[in-house]
C-alpha cells in the first residue's frame, strides 16, 4: 500500500514537472523576440560590391545562398538615409554606381552621431533579398536589423 502510494506520488510529480516544462517552453517560444545581432556570428563575410555583383549575376543562386542569413558586409558608406520615424538606413556601395546595399539599422542600435559618407564601414545584418533595377532607380540588396561592427 505504502509503495503504491509512493509510486502514484512519483507519477503525479513527473507529470507535473513535464507539464510545467512544456508550458514554460511554449511560453518562451511564443514570446521569443527577434535576436539581437550584435553578439551573433555572421554566416558570410563579404564586401559590398561582391555581394551586389553576386545578386546581379545570378539572383536565384544568391537568394539560395544568402537569404535569411546573417551577413557581415564591409564597404564604403554612400549615404545615410533617415525615414520620418527616425530609423536609420546605411547605404553601402560604390559611390559611382546606382546599385547599393541598404542596411536598415536595428532600432536598439541607432547611431548616436551621423556617419560621414565616404568612410569605410562594416555592418552585420540579415539579408532579406534583392530588388532588381526594373524601376530605373538602381538595384539594391536589402539587409534588416543591422548592427554596425566595431573594427
Amino acid at each position: 500500500m505504502n509503495k503504491k502510494k509512493k509510486n502514484l506520488l512519483l507519477f503525479v510529480l513527473a507529470v507535473f514537472i513535464l507539464a510545467s516544462g512544456t508550458a514554460f517552453y511554449a511560453y518562451k517560444e511564443f514570446n521569443r523576440k527577434a535576436v539581437d545581432l550584435s553578439d551573433a556570428t555572421a554566416a558570410h563575410k563579404i564586401s559590398a560590391t561582391e555581394l551586389i555583383n553576386s545578386f546581379a549575376a545570378n539572383e536565384t543562386e544568391s537568394n539560395a545562398k544568402y537569404l535569411s542569413q546573417i551577413i557581415e558586409i564591409s564597404g564604403t558608406l554612400k549615404k545615410m538615409d533617415q525615414d520620418e520615424k527616425g530609423n536609420n538606413i546605411l547605404v553601402l556601395g560604390d559611390p559611382d554606381s546606382m546599385s547599393s546595399i541598404r542596411c536598415s539599422l536595428d532600432s536598439l542600435h541607432s547611431l548616436q552621431e551621423p556617419l560621414k559618407p565616404g568612410s569605410p564601414i562594416t555592418v552585420k545584418g540579415i539579408c532579406t533579398g534583392f530588388m532588381a533595377d526594373d524601376l530605373g532607380i538602381g538595384s539594391d540588396v536589402i539587409l534588416t536589423r543591422c548592427v554596425p561592427v566595431q573594427q
Binding site: E84, N87, L135
Partner: protein, 186 residues
Amino acid sequence: MKQVLILIALFGCFTAAEAQNRFFTKTGKISFDATTSKSPENIDGINKNSTCVLDAQTGDIQFSVLMKGFEFDRALMMEHFNENYVESDKFPKTTFKGNIVNNSAINYTKDGSYPAKVKGKLSMHGETKEIETAGTITIKNGKVMVSATFPALLSDYKVGIPQLVADKVAKTAKITVDCTLDPLTK
C-alpha cells in the same frame, strides 16, 4: 555651332523637365493586419524597405516589397509567416503595377491632398489579381505622400490558413500603404 548649342540647351531643358515627373522611395512602409476578434494576439507585420515609383505624367505607380523584410513583434510569428503562409523562399517578392485612374485631377506642383483611385495588378505568392482601391495623394514641399488601405483576400493568392487556426487568422488581410516619395533626379 550656335544651333548645336541651342540643341544641347533644349535637350537639357527636356531632361530637367522629365526628371520632375518621376517620384520614388526605397523606404516606403507597407504593413498588413490579419487580426480577427478571436485572435489571441495582434497578427500584423510591417515592411519599412518597400520601393515605390510614381510617374506623375502618366499616373503609373509601382510597388515592390520583399516578403522576408516584414518585421514582427514575435520571432515565431515571423517564421510562420515566411515558412507556412507566404512561402517567401519560393516567392520572395510581392509587386503591384498599376495606374492612378484620376491622375489628371492631381496637381503635383501644388501642395494639397487629393483623393486617388488606383487600379492595377497585385502579384503575391505566385498569383496575380486585379485590384482597385481608393487612396490619398498628398503633395507637400515637392514630396508626394501616398497612402491607401485595401483588403486582400488570402485565398485569392492561395495563402492557406491551417484548419487549427482558421478562426484566429483573418481570411482577408488589411494592407496599409504609407510612402513618402522624393523627386527622382538623375
